[in-house]
Amino acid sequence: MKNTLGDLNNHLFAQLERLGEEDLKGEKLQEEINRAKAISDIAAQIIANGSLVLKARMFMHEYGNGDHADKKLPPMLRAEFFRE
């Protein structure tokens, strides 16, 4: 997984800038609003996922047993969100 939180932030800032452009009118504006809505909804999900992974890590740290802890985790939570 290559995407980091920094990339997400860059995407969000770019979207925010596109929304702020003043020559957006009518159809174009509506289109941009819809895109922004989609992006922010997904981004909200992404950070919620990040939270979940972090929580899983914390529990692993608290209750896990070293090397085997990773194998016991369900596959969905094996994502390495904070690799960097």
Binding site: L5, L19, A43, I46
Partner: protein, 204 residues
Amino acid sequence: MTKHYFTSEHREFIKDRVKGRSNAELTEMFNRHFGLNLTCNQIKVFKKNHKLNSGLTGQFKPGHIPFNKGKKGINCGGKATQFKKGHAPWNYKPIGTERISADGYVEVKAADPNKWKAKHVLIWEAANGPVPKGHAVIFGDGNKRNLNPENLILVSREQLVRLNQKNLIQNDVELTKAGIIIADIYNKIGELRRGCKKKRGKEG
């Protein structure tokens, strides 16, 4: 109580003295003069039956001066059990005391007698100056006991309402900061939508 018949003499006596006298006063006067033993109620009923009125209303008249005007500290006893001057309550807390508020925030006593301030706001202000109007300091990881300056983020109320509405405050500072940008986008969308509606309203 025996039945009493009022004679014309009695009647005259009461008629002459009824003005400005209470029933009790009149009864006492009547009994003393005639050597009788009538009750207050008997005189009252006699007055009513003969349409006599004392003219008393029991009200204070305008300009009435209260009995305690100009007097100070009229004491009705109990002085021994009163608190003395300079007495400190048993639960007095000195300035700088910390407490956990009912909402879970750490608060510090700032001034007597009861000024308490949120500790996370004080810490943020020590580093960045006073909190601007319409802004709030939030905990990046959602933990109200994590008072690390890194964990405290200043957000505007517009951002805060979106953060709470969309559950964007996460359990990590960086994630919450991303959440704040998302909140900005939501606010921008709302702003643009309102702009659209206004334009449409004008055209239609």
